[in-house]
Each structure stands twice: as C-alpha cells, then as structure tokens.
C-alpha cells in the first residue's frame, strides 16, 4: 500500500495494511515535523509532491524491499500540503515473520524514499518560507 495524502497519517491503517497472521514482527517509522531547523523556529511544514511519479517511486521502493528482504508486506504513506509541528509527514510499516528483516527493510525504505521520491519540503518560519533542497 502506497499513498500520498492530505489527511493525518494513521498508523493503525498502515499496520492493518501489512500484518498477516504468519508475521511475528512489524517495524514502523514515522518522520515527524520538528519545531526547529538549524536553530530557527519552524511554524509548520508544507510538502509538495510530483503526483503520479511520487507514488510510482514509492511503489518501486516497496517492490525492492519485498524482493531484497524476507518481508511480507510494505506500506508507505506520505503527507502533501500543510503539516503541523508534531504531526507525521511520512509513515512506513513493514511486516515480516521475523524482526531483523522487518527492521532492515523499514530502514531501507525510509533511506531510499528520502533519496529518490520526488517530494519537497518547505519550512515556514517567521516572515517567510524556504524550500529544503
């Protein structure tokens, strides 16, 4: 399951999307909006995605995880639009029979997502906003 969404990320949905009765482990990752960047207070974040391509890249990463690690299912959700401080901008869930594969694959997914998925973050600070690129 791969999704771009404007609504808050719900972990229970991600878990329901990945877990099967043969799985003994679910590794999860949430990227959350921090209130500070390089010493400056951040008011909120804004995410822009290249819709269509972003989902395509997320699907590709999920497929790679499934082929390279002994995992059962992968779910990735990423917010677009405004994200408040403390909210999750990205949520990842990976289910597997055993924990090491689940955790390895979860790390692979977030690391690869941050490197390749066409999504951009804009930090809104007092008096303006800057793209993080």
């Amino acid at each position: 399951m791969v999704r771009l969404q404007t609504e808050p990320i719900r972990l229970d949905e991600l878990i329901a999307a990945v877990r099967g009765d043969g799985d003994g482990a679910v590794a999860l990752f949430l990227g959350t909006a921090r209130n500070v960047t390089a010493g400056t207070e951040v008011l909120f974040l804004e995410y822009e995605a290249y819709a269509g391509m972003a989902e395509h890249e997320m699907e590709r990463i999920a497929s790679l995880a499934l082929s390279d690690f002994a995992v059962s299912r992968v779910a990735i959700a990423h917010r677009v639009g405004r994200v408040e401080i403390g909210e999750a901008s990205v949520g990842i869930a990976v289910a597997a029979p055993h924990r090491a594969a689940a955790m390895d694959a979860c790390r692979f997914v977030i690391d690869t997502l941050k490197a390749t998925v066409p999504i951009w973050k804009r930090e809104h600070v007092l008096g303006g906003a800057v793209w993080v690129e």
């Binding site: 990227g31 822009e48 290249y50 901008s89 997502l113 390749t116 066409p118 999504i119």
Partner: protein, 81 residues
C-alpha cells in the same frame, strides 16, 4: 513535437509556472531543452546546479533524446520524508 514541461518547488518559483507546453524538434535531448527553457525563463539557469530530470515520470539522464516523450519534469534535490 509538443512536450509538457513541469517545474517543482524552487524551480517553479523561478519560472513562475508549474507547467507549460513547448515545441521541440525531433532529436532534441534534455540538455538542449534546458537551454531553450533558460532563454524563456532567465532565472532558471541562475539556479546554478542542474536539477534532476524525469521523462514520463521516470528519472532520466541529461542526454536523453525526447522523441516519444510526452512529459519532462525538472526536479530540485528531493526533501521528502
């Protein structure tokens, strides 16, 4: 040949448009397109570093010839996650 060109994030700020249509000759590659677009949007080339490129929603090289491509997107370094 008609091509849809997309700009994202700071590149869209530089062009002032998120999407536009351009006419290119057969055999044009991404580099040549980028030069054309720089003439149209002087602030684009001022970006300095070359952005990433996607052709029809897949990452592509700068020497990719655009024959048969419908959509080219210029992508600043990504910062999702």
């Amino acid at each position: 040949m008609t091509l849809r060109v997309l700009y994202f994030a700071s590149l869209r700020d530089r062009t002032g448009v998120g999407e536009e249509t351009v006419e290119i000759a057969s055999g044009t590659d991404v580099s040549a397109l980028w030069s054309m677009l720089g003439d149209r949007h002087p602030r684009l080339s001022a970006a300095g570093v070359k952005p990433l490129v996607a052709c029809d929603r897949t990452y592509a090289a700068w020497d990719r010839v655009l024959d048969g491509v419908a959509e080219v997107a210029f992508l600043p370094p990504v910062s999702g996650g």
